[in-house]
């Protein structure tokens, strides 16, 4: 295996949790909801995934449990903001704090326990392609899922009727309601999807990245995922590019440390956020494009009148 292949493999490993969590949040935000609880849903996904895999010995059960864990937490969020019309920003932040605390409590028993690693699946024929094979087609199921999700969400948003309804709800919830669409139902489904994706992103960390439970192991990846959605200006393709870019920066950080380059690691940790700020400034110059993709009702509460 060449050096470049090895680097690409680590970049994909670093980027996959970001892709998973961010693609879910992209769908949530496209429906007009801002869920700042990604970090919390990820870490709960990480701990439930680890616990389920540990109890059953099956990493696949762990994957399902991770998705479920994130989803349950997001269901709480959806209930609070959609039916009790709680403030989305405050509720999302509370969700992150709740998730961090909850995961620490559940995970206490698992600290130091060896984990179960999700195995790689070689796709026949394709994995034998030189260079591309080992990088793209000899991965675990979550990586394949992340590829499929980016393509699937892109198709869903721009080619399917349900996706059109979702975008319409995000653009103008009052009109969508007037046309007879259930704004709350669409948003509930989107939030649940986002929760499941964030849970999977967390599960990737505890089942693949470092197959063990460490408290706070998401280490801010949920926030990077949130930044990514804006960075990508709510487009799935751009989101994938951004995620691998951010993944590369994170890997660079380790290599720079190992090579003893005198850049403080804190500075490299800042890079994804710095990149988001730079990109935000850059794309804000072209307001037309930003406006066309930004969900106009993002973060606004909706109460249907009856």
């Amino acid at each position: 295996m060449g050096v470049l292949e090895a680097i690409l493999l680590t970049v994909i490993t670093a980027a996959t949790p970001l892709v998973l969590a961010a693609i879910g949040e992209l769908v949530v935000e496209r429906s007009g909801v801002l869920n700042l609880g990604v970090e919390g849903m990820m870490i709960v996904g990480a701990v439930t995934g680890f616990a389920a895999a540990n109890a059953t010995g099956s990493p696949l059960v762990g994957v399902a449990a991770a998705a479920l864990g994130g989803m349950v937490l997001s269901a709480l969020f959806a209930f609070l903001i959609l039916f009790l019309v709680a403030n989305q920003y405050a509720t999302g932040l509370a969700l992150t704090l709740l998730g961090l605390g909850l995961s620490g409590m559940i995970g206490e028993a698992y600290v130091g326990t060896p984990g179960v690693r999700l195995g790689r699946i070689d796709i026949p024929v394709l994995s034998d392609i030189p260079f591309l094979g080992p990088v793209l087609f000899s991965q675990d199921i979550l990586v394949y899922l992340s590829f499929a999700l980016v393509a699937g969400v892109s198709w869903f948003l721009f080619r399917s009727r349900a996706g059109l309804v979702l975008r319409a709800v995000g653009d103008n919830h009052a009109s969508a309601h007037a046309l007879g669409f259930s704004v709350r139902r669409v948003r509930f489904a989107a939030v649940l999807f986002g929760g499941a994706c964030a849970g999977l992103g967390g599960g990737y960390l505890s089942l693949v990245y470092t197959p063990q439970w460490i408290e706070g192991m998401t280490a801010g990846r949920g926030w990077i995922a949130l930044a990514l959605v804006v960075f990508a200006s709510w487009l799935p393709g751009r989101l994938a590019v951004g995620a691998y870019l951010f993944g590369a920066v994170m890997i660079l950080q380790f290599h720079a440390q190992a090579a003893g380059i005198g850049i403080p690691s804190q500075f490299l940790t800042m890079l994804p956020y710095l990149a988001t700020v730079v990109v935000l400034v850059a794309i804000s110059r072209d307001r037309t494009r930003i406006r066309l993709n930004t969900p106009a009702t993002l973060g606004q509460p909706f109460v249907p009148d009856r």
């Binding site: 653009d171 007037a178 007879g180 993709n293």
Partner: protein, 529 residues
């Protein structure tokens, strides 16, 4: 009935539907209560096939609540709706559309970032392929004289074009009843004529139209029947062709509506108090209009009105005048001899200018603040209101005075701004500025959505202020209002301003052509050239 013959019969009344036409929709004792308040109180109503039926009433009379119940957006508290003779329960708009009830909204229910075809697809229940849908849109828009490109993004369309999208969307659902809420309020007179032709054609095909409008001339000309609401109750019904606009207004208000009195003509020897010199402003965002080389001088003692179709730069012009968007060139705006182009809103106010923006709630007034606190917001420069950073009692006195002289109706002394009805709040925000006796007053849409009685009061106050020596600039889309108050009229179109002309020697048609004219891309363009 010959639809074709009527189609070519430009803008005249549609023929009467035969009384033998079956009743399409009937409401019996329809009531909607919000808490203790009855928005609709036992309304009986019926409409026949092929009929254009006007629903008249002041703001807050219950028109919107009533049609929302017919369209399934609100649920009646009691009473029943019969559709083609059968009692029905319309629990949401999708049900209404399935039955054959379509609605064209006053504030368009379109999605800005989607294409025309996508917007229409959202309202159609069945699965239609994008190609087939685009074809159907083209067919319907051609048949009914509503030109549209299915692939354009709604945000790029003019207001008139957006309405066409709404209408085509409605027609594709093949409705038997179309509810139209103030359809002509955003159209040029020319576009309105096109709409009337489309309506005539539809009624010829047996479609019934429930028509809400404040424009009584139009109702008289177009509608076969009218039902009048006041305070949520039906107070009368009539054949509008046999009435005059004044008699219709009397039925709506329940009293005579005063006409604005111009006590004397504006004098032409007064000094210029507000002057715009080559005022230009780049667009603020992708969907806003740039202002191009605007020249205008308003003398003390006169009211100048700026007409124009919504979205042609009125908002931008107001922001430039009020200082919400300061200009680059300090000389582009002169207030009472002072170059004010780069001044802040507060500095312009201190020169004696006053500004009343279009949105009363959220822009002209803070919803959650009391009236007296809202007074402080625009008048904190006055010593009896604020001194040394401390609030003085003056604001309360001003609020009381405005309430008194403008007959602002409210539940108790000094309520929150949001608790006032639209018309009363509008009287308050206009009155708050007029109470200062400003040397220059710029007001945008002074009577937007305000009922006839309150409108007359506000318009009279504007004329009186001018006659007392102030320069008054009114930005409005309502031609009736403009001809009522203005001494001179200019038209804004695509960010350019026409030279002002005296109102006395100008006709509505001339203004209408200018409104649709200058390079507006629509059918109006060729006529105006």
């Amino acid at each position: 009935m010959n639809a074709e013959a009527r189609h070519t019969d430009t803008g005249s009344e549609a023929a009467k539907p035969a009384n033998s036409q079956p009743t399409l929709l009937e409401a019996r004792g329809l009531t909607k209560a919000f808490g203790d308040f009855l928005a609709c109180d036992h309304i009986d109503f019926s409409i026949r096939r092929g009929e254009i039926h006007a629903l008249l009433g002041e703001n807050g009379a219950g028109k919107s609540t009533f049609v929302k119940m017919l369209y399934g957006a609100l649920q009646p508290t009691s009473g029943e709706i019969r559709w083609k003779g059968e009692p029905v329960s319309i629990d949401n708009p999708a049900t209404a559309r399935r039955l054959g009830i379509g609605m064209v909204f006053q504030h368009f229910s379109l999605f800005d970032v989607l294409t025309v075809a996508e917007n229409i697809a959202l309202a159609l229940a069945g699965k239609v392929g994008p190609g087939a849908l685009a074809e159907r849109i083209r067919t319907v828009s051609r048949d009914y004289g509503l030109p549209l490109d299915p692939m354009s993004i709604v945000a790029d369309l003019s207001v008139g074009e957006r309405q066409r999208v709404e209408i085509v969307r409605c027609l594709l659902q093949e409705p038997d009843l179309i509810i139209m809420d103030e359809p002509t309020s955003v159209l040029t007179p020319h576009e309105a004529e096109d709409l009337f032709r489309t309506l005539a054609r539809l009624t010829g095909e047996g479609v019934a139209i429930l028509y809400i409008s404040h424009r009584l001339e139009e109702v008289k000309r177009l509608c076969h029947a009218a039902t009048i609401l006041r305070h949520g109750k039906v107070v009368g019904s009539c054949d509008p062709a046999g009435e005059t606009p004044a008699s219709l207004a009397r039925m709506m208000v329940g009293a005579d509506v005063r006409e604005v009195r111009h006590r004397e003509q504006a004098r032409l020897d007064m000094p210029v108090r507000l002057e715009l010199k080559h005022l230009s402003l780049p667009p603020a965002g992708p969907f806003s209009v740039p202002l191009v080389e605007i020249d205008l001088a308003v003398r003390g003692g006169e009211v100048v009105a700026i007409a124009g179709v919504a979205g042609n730069g009125q908002g931008e012009l107001f922001d430039a005048l009020s200082g919400e968007r300061p200009l680059h060139d300090r000389g582009a705006l002169v207030i009472d001899g002072h170059e004010a182009g780069r001044m802040s809103v507060g500095a312009r106010r201190r020169l004696g200018a006053a500004f009343v923006p279009e949105e009363r709630l959220g822009h002209a007034a803070v919803p959650g603040l009391k009236l007296s606190e809202n007074v402080v917001l625009t008048r904190h420069g006055e010593h009896h209101v604020v001194r040394g950073g401390f609030l003085k009692g003056g604001a309360r006195a001003i609020a009381d005075r405005v309430v008194e002289s403008f007959d602002v109706r409210k539940s108790h002394r000094d309520p929150e701004a949001r608790s006032l009805s639209g018309g009363n709040l509008q009287k308050f925000v206009v009155g708050r500025e007029i109470d200062r006796q400003p040397g220059v007053l710029v007001v945008s849409q002074p009577t937007w959505g305000v009922d006839a009685g309150a409108s007359a009061d506000i318009r009279q106050a504007l004329v009186d202020l001018a006659r007392a020596g102030s320069a008054v600039l009114v930005i409005s889309q309502d031609l009736d209002e403009i001809f009522e108050v203005a001494d001179r009229i200019a038209v804004v179109s695509r960010g350019r301003l026409s030279a002002p002309v005296p109102a006395a020697t100008t006709s509505r048609d001339d203004i209408g052509l200018l409104m649709g004219g200058i390079g507006h891309g629509g059918e109006g363009a060729s006529d105006a050239a």
